[in-house]
Every structure is written in C-alpha cells, then in structure tokens.
Amino acid sequence: MSVGSTTGTMPLLALQGVSKQFGSAQGWLERGAARLGWLPPAGSVQAVDQVDLAIMPGEVVGLVGESGCGKSTLGRIAVGLTPPSAGERRWCGEAIDRLPASERQRLQLGIQMIFQDPYASLNPRLTVGELIAEAPRVHGLIGRREQSEFVARSLQGVGLDATMASRYPHQFSGGQRARIGIARALAVRPAFLVCDEAVAALDVSVQAQVLNLFTDLREQLGLTYLFISHDLAVVRHLADRVAVMYLGRIVEMARVGELFWRPAHPYTQALLAEAPTLKVGKRQFIPIQGELPSPLAPPSGCHFHPRCPHAMPVCSKQAPALREVAPGHDSACHLTSG
C-alpha cells in the first residue's frame, strides 16, 4: 500500500476553484422582464462555491456533510456528469473538459461512479451479465467471445457467484445489487471511483461486507476513491483524508486521524460531538441550535455563523478562507486564521 507516500506526485484528479450554480428555469419572457426590473431576478442556488480539491493516486478522500451541502453535486462534477459553472477539472494534470471529444471519452473511462441506490442505476430489463458487459463492449475493451468469461470474472471479483449472470436485478438483495453496481463501475477498468452514499441504504451487517469489498478492491487494483457519505463512522473507517462541506464550501480538510482527534472548525466539532457512537454510552445531548439554512439564501460571511457558538462580529461580514492550521490540516474559520 502506498498510503502516505503519495505526496510530491501529481494529483490524479484535481478540482480547481469549481463552482456550480443552479438557477430556476426561466423562459425568454421572464428573463427579459427580470432584466427590465419588472420581475425580481431568479433565485439561484450556489450548490458548490469555489472548491479546490486534489486527490492523489491511491488515496481515499472522504467527503462529509449534511443534506443540501453540495457533496453530491461536487461528486458529480468530479466524475464529469455535471459541468461546473466555473473552475476546472484536471485529470492527471490535463484539463480534461477542454480536450477533443474522442480523447476526453477515452480518459473519462478512468473515472467511474457508484450510486446510492443500485437498483435505480440498473436497467431492470437486462440480465446482470448484459449490464456488466455493456460498457466494455461499447468501448471496445472486450469482444463478444470474451464476454461470458469477462462477466464471470467480474462477478467473482466482487464476491458474487458466476452463475448469477443470467439473472435480473430484481432477483437480488440490496447488498448483492450494491456489488453489481460496483462490478459495473469496475468493468471499464477505472483508476478512480466516486462513491456517492454507496453503503447508506444497506443494513449494518451487509454494509460491513461491502465496506470490506471496497478495502479489498483498493488493495488489489490500486484504486483511488472519492467517498461521499453523511456517515462519519463509515468515512472514518475508509478514508485517508476527509473534507467537510457546509453549504457549498469545504470548511475543513485533514488526514482522518487528525480530523477526528483534533477538529479545528466549530462545525466539524459539532458534527463529531453529536454523532451517536457506541462507546460514549447514554448521555445528555447538548446539540447546536438551529437548522441548516436554505441554500437559496445562505447567511452572509461564514455560512455557519448563525449556529456557531463562537461567532464574532467579523463572521457575519467576511467569509473565512481555507487556511492551514497544522501541516496538512486546513480549516476555514476566523478563530484559527488569527
């Protein structure tokens, strides 16, 4: 394993200043009316706001946050499913989205995605064998004759029986479907996987099996992951480095041990304090107050300031930048930017 020895090389995937705005759909009439001041301008959601994220080869980066914080959008930008409104995606140093289409398509095979609900991502009318072989056939990676052998090997690689190739998705349990989703993503031999809540829907005992599969595949194939989850325990188990998002911004990033042991940002501290754990035992909760603000109208300055126990006057005026507070540990907070 090359964990920790990855510094100094070029990032496998780098997101540089990416932002994504979602505006409400408007016709030309509304747009014109808004321009003339007859209608208020359309509300837009800043789902992702100026995020920089570099992922080294062989690294597992966990992306944590609550619903609506933009973690799924950032994952979709990383995989190329959602074009960013601003900023750039670099794959092995190359601005992949500016390459000619054929070249981009070839490189894009290296980045695959695993979704939360594997059943929704599997065509119910195709057998599992067809589902797994579809992409590599289309891209010319395997021929028709190799197909059945390829499918058998793929299924065995994710811990399923090779005889299952002729079955349909509805004949499988949730955990088996998750494995099929993984086999499909791996079928085009990617180097990088974006996993969006890939184990969130599974029962604890099945979740553990799939998490172990992720660990095994990483060792066997040298995969790099961006692992998106709301579950701190899962991220702590799997990730080398963790990024915490709040309302579109990364507020803290550090190696996993450092982040869980010495969280610097008040939001991370609150998340860690409030996640129920097996060890803490029965206790009184002292939760942080308030709800997640609407991303349509985020608070000024630091987005967290209305809920923050340490908020100062500057926090509502100016957004703190992500700064290094310890080697390899970045936090965006006025408390630590001194």
Binding site: M1, A208, L278
Partner: protein
Amino acid sequence: MNSVHNAAQAVLEVTGLSVGFAQRGTVLRAVDDISLHIAPGEVLGLVGESGSGKSMTAYSLLGLVEPPGQVSADTFRLCGKEMRAADERAWRQLRGRRIAMIFQDPMMTLNPVLRIDTQMVEAIHAHRRVGRGAALEMAAAALQRVGIADAPARLHAYPHQLSGGMRQRVAIAIALLNAPDLIVADEPTTALDVTIQAQILAEMQALCQASGTALLWITHDLAVVAALADRVCVMYAGRIVEQGPVDQVLAQPAHPYTRGLLNSTPAAAPSQHADNAGATRRLSTIPGLPPALGERPEGCAFRPRCARASAACLQVPALVAVSPGHEVRCFHPLARVSA
C-alpha cells in the same frame, strides 16, 4: 427500570406475541413469540435489521396489523387494559391518547392538504371536549415543547412548507398532545441529518424524563440506542435473541448475532492514533444474509451464519439469563450462563 417487572405497574406487558401471515397452507410468522415489558418513564430500544420484524412488532402493539395478518398473544396488557380481544372501539380509545406512534416518515402522520393547526386540533378533539381556542393553545404549547420557535406562526403552515426535521418535530408534538403513557417510535430520526437527529434525541430524552412517558424506540442503529435507551432488545428473524440493560448488552454481548452487529459497525469515536488510515483495516462481518420471511431456518434462525452453531441449534433455544435482567436466546452464548 430493571427486569424485576411488576405487571400492575408496567405500561406495556406482552408475552408470547406473534404476528402471522397465512400463505399456501402454512403460517409465516413475521413476529415469533416475543415478550416485552416497559415501565413508566423507561426507554426501551428495539434493534434489528430490515426484515427482523421490528416494525411489525410496533404495529401489533398499536393494533394496526390488518388482515391477512393475525396477531396472537398470551398476555397483552396496555396501560392496565386487557387488549387480547380488544375491538376497534377499544383501540381507538387508547390510540392517540394513552399510546402514540411516531413513524420514520412524518408524512405518514401528516395530511399534506391540511394546515398544521387543523391537524393538531383534530387530534385533541378526538379525545377531549375543549373549545377551539383552548385546543389551539395546547397545540402551540406542544410545538414549543419540541423546540419549534415561533409556534403560533408555524400552526398556519402546511406540511410542505416545513423542513424534514421540522415535520418530524410536528409529528412528535402531535404524539405528545394528549400526554400518552407510551410512545412507539419507528426509526424516527433515520432520515434526518446528524445535527437535527441530535436535537430530536435530546428533546425526546428531556420530554420523557419530565413527563414519565415510556418510550419504545425502534431502530437499526445501535449507536442511537447506546445514547438514548435504558434497556435494549435485539431482534433477529422475528425473535428477540438478546435483551438487557443497554450498557451490559453493548459492552458484553452474549449472543453471537449481537456481537457480530457490534463488530460490523464502524466506529466514529475519536482516537489518539494520529494517522490510522483506513486502508488495511477490515471490519469483521457476519457471513451471509438475513433470511427472508419464507426461508427462515428451523431452530435457531441465526444458525447458518453462526460460527458457534452445533447440532443442538436445530432446536429453538429459550431465553436464559446470563446476569440479572440480561437474557439471551442461544445454546452457546458468549458469556457464562448463571444458574
């Protein structure tokens, strides 16, 4: 609080509770011979994976199992009333007043086309004869108790105008309206974010302590049980396989399934190891899958997945005590069985 339970005092006392579904000449038992008792003010956690029968247990406790489901029990006392042969009228007198339910999805409780005040006043008027003004005041007070600021304004909202956490608070406020003796909560915080879940757990804990309301908290999440419950029952394939005080069961699980569950739960607790990257760590897992309802093995249903299974496990083991109040249904428990 402990196992020395007094039938006269318990809010809920059931023994031999089963929920069966007849299918092709056989009866499939979703819930198979379970016994539960809850004392006033006690928080009992009911833990299990999907298909373990935990939600069906909750429905049967409120008389909500509809045909073809058949509920049977040896004892079934709720708030001091015998409920074995209760008709729908008897159930309606209890439901919403002495016993209330909170669902995972608050939209199971809330009517999307009615305002919050309409729904809350309706729940009050179903059991009490008070004027509309007094009912509205009670509703506003209930919303305040679950931490909703600006309650009078929220009363005029429709459910879709509220966030998910807010809707669940409203559902909890409706459950609390008539100061019930027992609240059955089926995964009420599973769909919520961590910070919102923490707020709701804190409020439920305070409310139950203040009012002496007993709580049956159904969840798949052992960590939530660890934080909230006094006692815990672990269900597997329709049976209770282990029950006892929560600190004992989590610290010294006696059933191989409970230990398997605990071992397969990744830990989020901070540790001093500055950089223990997850790369080479594996979770110890339970092999195989929980059995489907029609395919439960004979005897101990956990037998095919259990490393300690023997020929004896072809029989159904009885619940035996490993320490006072801590019982396990296993022939080969991990702790020594006391005489």
